[in-house]
Symmetry: C2
Subunit: 121 residues, 2 copies
């Protein structure tokens, strides 16, 4: 939990690098994160948890093995636990994520795209 | 979980009455809800859970016993578990809530402002 008001857009303005999730706040043992994405991520899944994506600005394509899910501003999509996905942003996109504390961005894939959860400045 | 895309603004357009939370989607055993508020709610707390408020449109005042927290668009505030609060919207406000499944809107207060969680049409 963060004991004061956080603004999603102001928080995103403070995020300098793509693919680095920052903690906006927490609800019990769930973290609410902001991130900016540009380019393609890696295919991965989270075997133990669903993952919520909310687009703030831009367009995000969540590639699934059988279809692409395209999200615009204010769109929300939940990738079910265990489902392989690969986010792709042809132009920069700003998002909010909701998932349990400790959820790693690369899930079961690991590798050099793995990033720690950062605190906002 | 809801297995397709949900748009927060479209969902709010479908909510006809104030103080009636509707389920937008779910992440594991947490529900993400939308609601429209106008007027003053009741003082209550949730002894077992934090409660996240995100304002989409309008201005929401979350009255705490020792201060008022005023939220505008894109502002997020988490009321910690056990903390008494009373939301007030002098004009209509549209919000998103995140909390564990089964969290009741009136918390420990109960009474005639208690509403079931509704599904969107």
């Amino acid at each position: 939990m963060t004991d004061d008001v956080r603004n999603i857009r102001t928080a995103l303005d403070a995020v300098a690098h793509h693919w680095q999730p920052h903690r906006l706040t927490s609800v019990n043992d769930y973290d609410v994160k902001v991130a900016k994405l540009h380019g393609e991520f890696v295919w991965h899944s989270h075997p133990d948890t669903d993952e919520l994506f909310l687009v703030v600005e831009g367009t995000l394509t969540i590639q699934l093995r059988d279809r692409d899910v395209v999200l615009g501003p204010s769109d929300v999509f939940v990738v079910p636990r265990g489902v392989e996905h690969c986010p792709r942003a042809d132009d920069e996109v700003s998002i909010v994520l909701v998932e349990p504390r400790g959820t790693v961005n690369t899930g079961d894939a690991g590798g050099d795209r793995t990033e720690p959860l950062r605190e906002l400045p």
